[in-house]
Every structure is written in C-alpha cells, then in structure tokens.
Symmetry: C3
C-alpha cells in the first residue's frame, strides 16, 4: 500500500454508500421487521486502485442500516453464502449469545430475532474469530433505534467509521496489520474520502442529524464538521448536550459506541466532516457536505 | 512472547482474582477502615506459560479492592518489602502529595490516611518513576466509594483493565515495550482471559452492577457485554444514563477513569465481556458471565 | 531524538507559556474583539536541547488564547509572514469554510470574522494540508467562550495538550513520524514539563478552574491532577459533573475536544498535573501546581 493514492478518483464501478437515513414510516407500535441478510464474498474496489475480496452482510461493507423505533422487533434470516463460517452479533438486541451468535457454516442459515427495547445506534458485526479480522474485512453495520420522543429534523444521515487493513490486491484483510494496529485507511461507510467525490447534501438553515457509529475494529473517532457546531449531542443512549448555551466541536466515540449530533449550516458552501484524529482524517476519514440555499 | 498462547489453560497454581464486590456492611457514617498494605515482589504466572517477577500491593496484581462509602476514612499502613523504592498514590483521597506519595525505601513503611469525600471507582498505583513501568509490572488497584443513595443490586463485580508488557521469563515488565506502546496482553484483573476459565456468575433477571477501572498504563477501554445492554451508566462520578429510553453498548474509559454499568440477563447462557477495542479483546481483555436460572 | 532529555532545564531564552486566563472585563453584551494574528516562522527551543523552525500564530505555539463570552464577535486579521501558504480554522465560529479557511499565500492577509454563539473551549488551527503536520509544527490554539452564567472562581488557567514530532535540529516537524504516530513528546502549552520548572500557582482553599483543550494532532488526553479531585467537569459544552456526591479523577478528551475542570487544594504542597495516559506523562505531559497558604 505504499503507492496508495487516497485522493484518487473512485473507479467507475464504485457506487457511494447511501448515507441518507429515510424517515421512519408511521406504523403501529411494536412493528415486526422481517428481512433477509445474506453473507457473501465480494471482490470490490475498496479504495482508489485497491481491490479486495471483502466479506459482507447484504453485499456492502458496511452492511445495510436497520432502522426502527423502541419496541420494534426484527426477524432477520441470515444466510451464509461465503466460503467459510461466519456469524452475527446485533448489539441492538438482548439475548443469550449461545445459539444466535454461533458460527454459521457455508450454505446454512439461522433466524436471529430480537426486540429493540432501548434507543441508540447499535453495532452489528460478524461473531466469528478472529473478530478483528472479520470486522476489518467488511463485516459490520448499524441498527438505528429511535427513542419515542425524537424530534423530527430536516435530514438524517448515518456514518459508520472503520479501518481498512489491505491484504494483497484481490486478497482479504491482512491479519498482521490488524494485530499490529497499522491501518491503511480510516473511512466513513467503507471507502476513503467517498463523500468528497459525492458530497452529502443539505440546505442553509436545515437541521441535520448525523448518526455516527464507530465500528473499529480498534480505533476511536472524534467526529467533527468543519464550519459548524453541534448544538445537540446524543451518545450511547443519552443526551450529552441538548439546547443549552454550550456547543460541541467533536463527538468522541470508542469502538462499538455510537450516537448522533445535530447541526445547521449558516450559509452555502462546502463543509468537510472528519475524524479530528488528524492522522485518520488524512487516512480517508474525510467527506463533504455541499450546502446550498 | 511470539509463542504466547493466550487461550491456553492457566497453570494449576493460578487462582482467579476474585471479582466479586461484597455488599457494604451497614456501619456508622464516617467509618474508619484501618488496613495494612504490603508491597512485595512475587514470581507468578501472569499468562499461560509466562512467569514474571511482579511488584504487588498486597500480593496480587491488581491489589485488593478497598471499599467504603462517602465520608469513610482509610488509614493504610504501606510497608515496602520489595527490593527497591516504591510509593503509593490513592486517587480516592485529596491531600498534598509531597509526604504521603514519597518513595518508600525497601524495608520501610508509611501511613497514608485519607477521607473519601466523593464517590466513584478510584485508581491507586505506585508513585515511583517511571510510573508506567511500575503500573505495567502490577502496582495498581481500585478503591470503590459508594454514593449515599446507591441502589442495591443483586450482584456487584469489579474489573480493572490493564496492559502487560512481558520481560524475559522470570523477569519483570519490559520498559522498552512500555515506552513503545507494544503490549503483549490487555487483561481484566491481571490475567488474560481468566474469566473464560472461571466465569463470573449471575442469574436470569438479576440486576448486575459492574464497576470498571482502566488502570492503563496507556490504553483505554470500551467495556462491552455481549448479549445484553447497559441501562445504567455511571462514569467518573456522575450518571451518563439512568433509566431512560436509551441504552448503552460500551463504556469508554481513558486510563485512570472508572465507573459502573448495570445490566440484566434475559435468559440462561454464556455472555462474554470484552474491551470492544477488538485487538485488545484478542489480547486477553475477554471473559464470561455464566448465567443460569 | 534518542538522546532527548525531557527532564533537562529549559534554555535561558525559553519563556514559559503564560497559562493564566485573566478575568473577562465586564463590557457590553455582543462586544467586538478586533485583533491581528500573524503567522510566522520562528526558530525556537521546543524541548531541552531541541531547536525547531516552528510555524506559529502570533509568535508562539500554541498561539494566543482568545477569550470572550457568548455573543461576542471576533474580527481577526490573519497575515501570513511565513514562507509557504497557511490558513486558519476557528472552531469557535460557524460559517462556510470556503472563503475564510482558504490558504493564505505568503505575504497576504485575510479577515476572519465570527460571532461566538456557543460556549466552550474551541480549537483553532492551520487549515492547510497536511493539517496533521501543520498542527504538529505549532499551528494551533484555543478560544475560550464563557457561558452567561459561569460562576466566578479564584483562578483560571488554560492548558493545550499537543504532540511534537521533531525533525532534524533547526528543522521542522517530521511528516513520517506524524504519519507513523511516533511522537517524541506530548506537552502542555508547547514545551515538555515546562510547568515543573515554572509551576502554576494556587492557594489552599481557592477554587481553580482549568480549561483544557486537546489539539492533537492525533492523541487524546486523560487530564488528571495528583492529590486533588475534580468536583466540577464541563466538557464539549455541557456539565458532566456539577456539585454532586461523585468526583472525577480524569477528564478524557479526544483531539479537538475541550472543557474545564474545577478543584481545590486542601493543603500546601506540590500537586503534579499529567495526562494519565502514563506514557504521555513521561513524554512531557506533566507539570506542577505549587500551592501555598
Ligand atoms: Cu465473519
Ligand atoms: Cu460487539
Ligand atoms: Cu512501584
Ligand atoms: Cu494517578
Ligand atoms: Cu499552516
Ligand atoms: Cu478542526
Ligand atoms: Na414501528
Ligand atoms: Na469521505
Ligand atoms: Na461506613
Ligand atoms: Na478474562
Ligand atoms: Na463581552
Ligand atoms: Na509541564
Ligand atoms: Zn419499521
Ligand atoms: Zn468468518
Ligand atoms: Zn459544490
Ligand atoms: Zn467499611
Ligand atoms: Zn518501584
Ligand atoms: Zn456454563
Ligand atoms: Zn472582551
Ligand atoms: Zn502551511
Ligand atoms: Zn515549591
């Protein structure tokens, strides 16, 4: 990875991960979300010029965002179409790990059912050993569970920070780099600097909520948006800042922590967002809001 | 340490550190706890197949948990039976460091008296230079001071996370590994994965309080319990989460920070606890709750 | 830097950075602070025996502390007297980055105007790439914005933690050390251990407020004062601890986070302050309070 050009253009077959979080439909309390989640191996471009065989939930790394509210139940049929055993651990549910988090052999399935009893942005990830390598190779995602009284905002986005530790071209994550804490990149939603090329959108004066999850496997984040300030910060299930005199410049999250921040943009322009762990911003934990009237 | 087998069985002379925190006796306010705390050198197994000459408070690393409530006074006679100077610093007390934290020559004692005026889980550690090496070699522990209105729970435990940097077999912590930030392990209560072999116990539906201290010397933690969620989080003297709609999946602590989390287990099973800094979980910051009806 | 002696005496031309934060004058609401801030290259002693060509705002690293209250406006004329392009980013203001944070060519100026609408201790830093290196080479500082109801205290100080990555003698920060996360030192207010030689002052019983900002570029802090405890903690715009039963032993900040802690000293003596990331304390993130009656 010596000649890694993080600022290069993504290949023509790279689609940005859709960071937008749609508004929740208004259904009955206690809704049941049924879904299939397929574990697959995908050869993908994961950084400009770098192709890896990643392991995914649902075809992308991160996997899809699951979204509901307190009281909802999720019934997820997980099928392993990969070539080795994988499993899954949803932090959003509370249940004995023994059965549902077991390794799923290639070609087999299990049904993982949980009720989301507490709000937050919860990590999910592969439960097979070594988990650091399975996460590093793409097996992670977010479940957003809204509290009952969450105010509506104009736009919501989700960013999941993670590290990449590249193996050889067309190979998979390098376990020695993972163990040696030598990431090649640190990224939002699976690809370095992708939202510099495909900026997130907002309009002047809109209230924007950014849900952020740190998936690690091993590094925290200090999430910051250049040119604006957070007036609301919710972290790990409670408000740290909520309409007071103070403001926040960075949301610090350790691996497996998540929360959201809210902000408005005072005028049109380009507002970068970064991990203010500056070396990680320069490893690819960087993107842009393009703000218009 | 290239052939370190962290998942091997502990030797037959290894006793798990008792993580249980007994209920406080109900005595008068302002109780005085008098105790002896002996600094000693101990050759011990500190990981499967690894023996080191550790420096201890009270014979174990971590040292004993001191436990009281706001208003209690501790009168600790510290005697140095080691072969070089050591001292002690109790974060739980407030007093000028000049006298009580001074180096104690081998064979000498001092009396360290402090009143615990504020609640929390407070670190204590050797005050001799270089402190990073004295801590790495075993000289740390916890003081738990309960606030006046702390609700009773069914079970309380204490976990102290620290790093180990092994010197040669039968030697002491390697200062170059400490300075180079290259830990061999990250552990709870002084031995990697010990509670995988000797799980902590709980019953379905019990409220379990886990006090957690990060002793470092240099790495933080993201304390997580697989399969359950924290509905109560107390960190550095105040509640971050207390019976709301939200839940927490990880308690992040920097070195010298502490707090507690509370959880219940919904069904019988084996619930791992880890630092979700995944590389550290794989270095030994891993254990189990065995939950029965 | 193998023979770096962090505990050596500062050279005779080294002046400690003044950590005292003067009381705010009582002027009208919405005051306008007008100031010049000159970017310059300075050859300075930055550690005992180490001279570097640092890049500064206002001649020192960190730059000057800007200080106001919610509602104040700052009109800062930034002039680049360095030999390459630099810019500035004030977290304390909210505005589109496009114009005001642009690179300023050598010899040119811009006017950066912002109104401080939210309280906190906010980072400012060079906005030119690679920011990690510009910050590492000295281009950072703090803006303290007091909330309307901030209680008066007896003394206020400001400490900015940062890392140094030395290039060759008389050179500038080494980009490879920055990228490799191999700091030579971690320091408060720009020079290792400077307040061991020139202690901060306080009197027994006084309430001391310490504002702390972590400027990185890449490491967090666990700010601790030996021998006392924090009874008040304000972080990123809100109180984490405010006159309860609990106390705090360490304020954890990620890069670009800030806050303040309050403490009193119970008796005369020398109370060290450190980052309790112990390896960083030993790299120079250490100082002293000298407390007298
Ligand atoms: Cu997997
Ligand atoms: Cu997990
Ligand atoms: Cu010692
Ligand atoms: Cu300490
Ligand atoms: Cu610059
Ligand atoms: Cu910044
Ligand atoms: Na619903
Ligand atoms: Na990006
Ligand atoms: Na008592
Ligand atoms: Na364990
Ligand atoms: Na004013
Ligand atoms: Na100092
Ligand atoms: Zn739904
Ligand atoms: Zn797998
Ligand atoms: Zn644009
Ligand atoms: Zn007692
Ligand atoms: Zn010693
Ligand atoms: Zn069992
Ligand atoms: Zn003023
Ligand atoms: Zn520059
Ligand atoms: Zn003195």
């Amino acid at each position: 990875a010596d000649d890694l050009d993080l600022l290069g253009d993504p290949g023509s077959d790279v689609t940005p991960y859709d960071a937008a979080l749609p508004r929740l439909h208004q259904l009955d309390k206690g809704e049941v979300h049924r879904m299939d989640l397929t574990i697959s191996e995908e050869e993908k471009e994961v950084a400009p010029g770098v192709r890896q065989k990643v392991w995914t939930f649902g075809g992308s790394a991160p996997g899809p965002v699951l979204h509901g509210e307190v009281g909802d139940t999720f019934v997820v049929t997980v099928t392993n179409k990969g070539s080795e055993a994988h499993g899954i651990d949803f932090h959003a549910g509370s249940l004995a790990p023994d059965e549902v988090m077991r390794p799923i052999p290639p070609g087999e399935s299990l049904v993982y059912r949980f009720t989301a009893t507490r709000a937050g942005i919860w990590m999910y990830h592969c439960s097979s050993m070594p988990m650091s390598v399975h996460i590093a190779n793409g097996m992670f995602g977010a479940v957003v569970i809204e509290p009952p009284d969450l105010p509506e905002v104009d736009r919501s986005y989700v960013l999941v920070q993670s590290e990449q530790y590249f193996g050889p071209q067309d190979g998979s994550a390098d376990p020695e780099k993972v163990a040696g804490e030598q990431p090649d990149t640190v990224v939002f939603n699976g690809y370095p600097n992708q939202y510099d090329h495909s900026p997130l959108r907002a309009r002047v004066g809109e209230r924007v909520r950014m849900w952020v999850l740190d998936a690690g496997p091993s590094r925290g984040t200090a999430f910051h948006v250049v040119g604006t300030q957070f007036d609301t910060v919710y972290s790990e299930g409670s408000y740290l800042l909520d309409h007071g005199d103070g403001g926040s410049q960075a949301l610090a999250l350790a691996p497996a922590q998540g929360g959201f921040v809210e902000m408005t943009f005072p005028e049109p322009g380009h507002y970068p967002f970064v991990s203010h762990v500056m070396i990680d911003a320069e490893r690819g934990a960087h993107g842009l809001f393009a703000v218009t009237r």
